[in-house]
Symmetry: C2
Subunit: 222 residues, 2 copies
């Protein structure tokens, strides 16, 4: 049985969960809490972080970037990068936008400060950092709206790893109730379409121990 | 003529320059200074950062991750990811190690604080952040030594994008004179082998305006 070591509010774990679901690849999910990494886990990923995917032949793939590229190479139909090289480059540009820029400007500021910092014994949340994360999210919602206005999905005609990656990040922030959807109706429409996909069901069913999701987190009509 | 928009001390630009050189793909280099991004550049990369690669058919690829994957797909011989899926996953794991972990713990702390912060009008360097960068680099040098002890190159038998990525980051820090090579002789041997490759010549010839490289930066026998 394939396995995925993941953590609920880790956007990199979430994107691999959704990509696996889109490709209809069944797996056993195993929770890895970033503040309680078992020593044995370092042999699966020397960085000591989820996600790690174990394929049914025992292949051990660590980190979301190698996992997603591996799934696209080995389980190539359907493809979520696209067929043509220009399309694949555009999809990957947006994947990097959310995994690097959005993560640094929003996800890390909010998820780390509000949830992980205390668990990891690094003290209480820093309200200035949380304010920065809350301020930064608007530009990204505008960018999603701008793209949605010009394209069917973020990277072009088809639902892609760009949508999966963006939604993985937004969904972590939405769990905390910190996405100002009402101020960005076009971005909200895009997210509603992602939410309604069967691949997103498990994400919406997540319950982080000791932290209830925001009231609208699960609603498809929010 | 192919073009690469890059900045000298940007590790992401450097890795694309070395990968292009390893694949013997000629290009016209164009300098983009992160503190003087021309407005027109945003149409090439909405994130407003180098690197951006323009292929000879006009295809516009932004961000190092899409560029490297594009070059591997379109100019696939020789491959610097490897042939088999497990090897490709291991190469990409180490690429992510240096582009995410090393960048966050070392490169950004040193290059941004020592060179870019003032240029970008963000005030003077923060000595606490520089100290953190200087402290963090030791673990990474030990990891390079550990890998070099067990493998011919970082990701396995062959020189790969993992070596290119790691060397791109180390070379930026080495330009500043901040790699404590003498304390990590096995890592130094690995870097000396990378430095001696023809693909690295242009990197070693770099002169950042107003900032001379460390005395040993160019020496193959340092």
């Amino acid at each position: 049985m394939r396995k995925l070591y993941h953590y609920w509010l880790c956007p990199f774990s979430r994107k691999t969960r959704v990509l696996l679901a889109e490709k209809k690849i069944a797996f056993e999910p195993i929770i890895i809490k970033p503040w309680e990494i078992p020593g044995s886990f370092y042999s699966l990923n020397p960085e000591g972080l989820p996600p790690v995917f174990i394929d049914d032949d025992g292949k051990n793939i660590a980190n979301a970037y190698p996992i997603c590229e591996y799934l696209e190479e080995v389980y190539f139909e359907p493809s979520f990068l696209g067929k043509m090289s220009a399309q694949r480059a555009e999809t990957r540009r947006l994947v990097a936008w959310f995994d690097e820029k959005f993560y640094g400007e929003v996800t890390h500021n909010l998820v780390y400060e509000k949830v992980l910092r205390r668990k990891m014994g690094q003290g209480g949340p820093d309200s200035a950092i949380i304010r920065t994360g809350n301020a930064n999210i608007h530009d990204h919602l505008e960018y999603v709206a701008w793209l949605s206005d010009r394209r069917n999905w973020l990277a072009g005609d088809d639902f892609s790893l760009a949508d999966i990656t963006a939604a993985a990040h937004f969904s972590c922030i939405d769990y905390l109730g910190d996405v100002p959807w009402d101020k960005h109706p076009a971005a909200k429409l895009w997210y509603a379409r992602v939410k309604s996909r069967p691949s997103f069901r498990e994400i919406l069913a997540d319950v982080v121990l000791g932290l209830a999701p925001s009231p609208h987190y699960r609603d498809l009509d929010f």
